[in-house]
């Protein structure tokens, strides 16, 4: 590195370009570059490599990053929930017990637990723990997921009956929702966005719908799904909008599209 006449290494050229050299080394590299065409050319080649890489990297990934608005609102909501939990429960002592882990692991585990990935349901947010009758899915566990399918394909399908969910996936859904093993019979694992509207069988689109729900039950949801599909196929509603509305809050969607505050007569339990 101290050899005045030696050419600079790729590493040195890169360190210089990245501003990672000491002032003394910068002066040495600059003076060499001023004198040496070979090293100047090599420096340019390295810069072209950086530019080529960055172009490919950004083009490949930038277009795939979804808008920040929703995630930002979700983060705000989760911070609020975190605050509520800190006030209402013994989160502080749980946090203490994680201190023996390295901080990223502890923070990750702790938050994952709060988000309900590992914790029994009773440990999660108090309002979730109390909701034994699940009528609306948890938006973090079940945000909804779709397959790449267009309106024509959705409307072409004659059989709109949902296919069954495997036992393994059912178990995973129950685990995620912290439902004790004795209770699963009280729930049906249902698609949030029905496959008849392009919903996928990804776990993010599955939730345990409570059989105990008397008003906003599975039949009422089916009715909404049929209605939205009709609207989509008649060209009166965009497929993406239908999927989004149902994923946001299917009960609100029902009220909106049937112009009612209660399920229609036909959907009420006999």
């Amino acid at each position: 590195m101290q050899c005045e006449d030696c050419h600079l290494s790729d590493q040195e050229l890169l360190l210089a370009a990245d501003g990672e050299l000491s002032a003394q080394d910068v002066a040495r590299v600059d003076s060499h570059l001023a004198a040496c065409w070979t090293c100047r050319t090599r420096k340019q080649e390295l810069e072209s490599a950086v530019a080529g890489f960055i172009r490919g990297y950004r083009r490949t990934l930038d277009s795939r990053i979804p808008s920040a608005d929703g995630p930002r609102a979700l983060l705000k909501a989760q911070i609020a929930q975190l605050n509520a939990n800190t006030r209402h429960s013994s989160v502080a002592s749980l946090s203490d017990s994680f201190r023996k882990f390295s901080w990223p692991v502890a923070a990750g585990l702790f938050l994952a637990m709060l988000l309900g990935y590992f914790a029994p349901r009773s440990w999660i947010a108090p309002q979730r723990a109390r909701a034994a009758t699940v009528t609306v899915p948890d938006r973090i566990l079940t945000p909804g997921a779709t397959v790449f399918i267009g309106r024509e394909e959705v409307c072409r399908a004659s059989n709109t009956k949902n296919k069954g969910v495997s036992t393994t996936i059912r178990r995973r859904v129950f685990e995620e929702y912290g439902i004790p093993s004795a209770e699963p019979r009280a729930y049906e694992v249902d698609y949030l966005i029905t496959p008849a509207l392009g919903g996928s069988d990804d776990i993010h689109n599955l939730w345990p719908e409570s059989n105990a729900a008397t008003i906003w039950n599975a039949q009422v949801k089916d009715e909404l799904e049929d209605h939205l599909r009709d609207l989509v196929c008649r060209g009166q509603l965009d497929l993406t909008t239908a999927q989004r509305e149902i994923a946001m809050n299917w009960i609100e969607a029902y009220k909106k599209y049937f112009h009612t505050d209660r399920p229609l007569e036909a959907a009420k339990p006999q």
Partner: protein, 198 residues
């Protein structure tokens, strides 16, 4: 995929409404921390998202990791811990969460075939004419192949550097020495350079 994102976005807006009342009762200190976290989210979500995507995770998983990362930041700041180099801190947490997620996915034989596309797929840049387009796409393919063939650590160094991290910060995230970062970047760029020139 974009539909998924939209769905998440909409449900998130709903979630925000539900917690609006709660927000008004928060302490001024929490509110300041929250503002700080949100400001960092606005500035660093995209770089972090790109980095997490480079682990071949799905969009949904990546989004979840970003949320967890910023929630961890909120906790970190609320507990009055160090504010030194929060950008490096965020990348380190995201890196660890992404690694863990990828490890869990690989370990789980029942891992679901997700509907999102993994990140490695190449996006071909629209060029003015078909010949240019073909040439550009071939070059990009060659470049992507070179990057894919790099050892994991070299790729991590490259991606973190691409997101503007300094050598010291990269070393901290990957728990390696600065000189290893420097050697790794030099080696990778030499390979990429050959692919670009071809």
């Amino acid at each position: 995929m974009s539909e998924n994102a939209m769905i998440k976005a909409s449900s998130a807006s709903k979630a925000a409404l539900a917690f609006e009342a709660e927000a008004s009762s928060r302490s001024p200190q929490t509110s300041l921390v929250e503002q700080e976290v949100l400001a960092l989210f606005d500035r660093l979500r995209e770089p972090l998202f790109r980095y997490v995507l480079s682990f071949s995770l799905t969009m949904a998983d990546s989004e979840e990791i970003i949320q967890e990362t910023f929630l961890a930041l909120f906790q970190h700041l609320q507990q009055g811990k160090s504010r030194l180099n929060l950008k490096g801190w965020l990348f380190r947490v995201a890196h660890n969460l992404a690694l863990r997620k990828r490890r869990d996915d690989r370990r789980d034989p029942q891992h679901f075939a997700v509907t999102d596309l993994p990140c490695e797929e190449l996006v071909i840049d629209p060029a003015p004419n078909p010949e240019d387009q073909l040439a550009a796409s071939r070059k990009q393919e060659a470049l992507a192949a070179v990057v894919d063939a790099l050892p994991e650590q070299d790729r991590r160094c490259l991606f973190l550097r691409a997101e503007g991290l300094r050598y010291r910060e990269i070393a901290d995230v990957l728990e390696i020495s600065i000189s290893t970062v420097s050697v790794s970047l030099g080696r990778s760029l030499a390979r990429i350079g050959r692919a670009v020139e071809r």
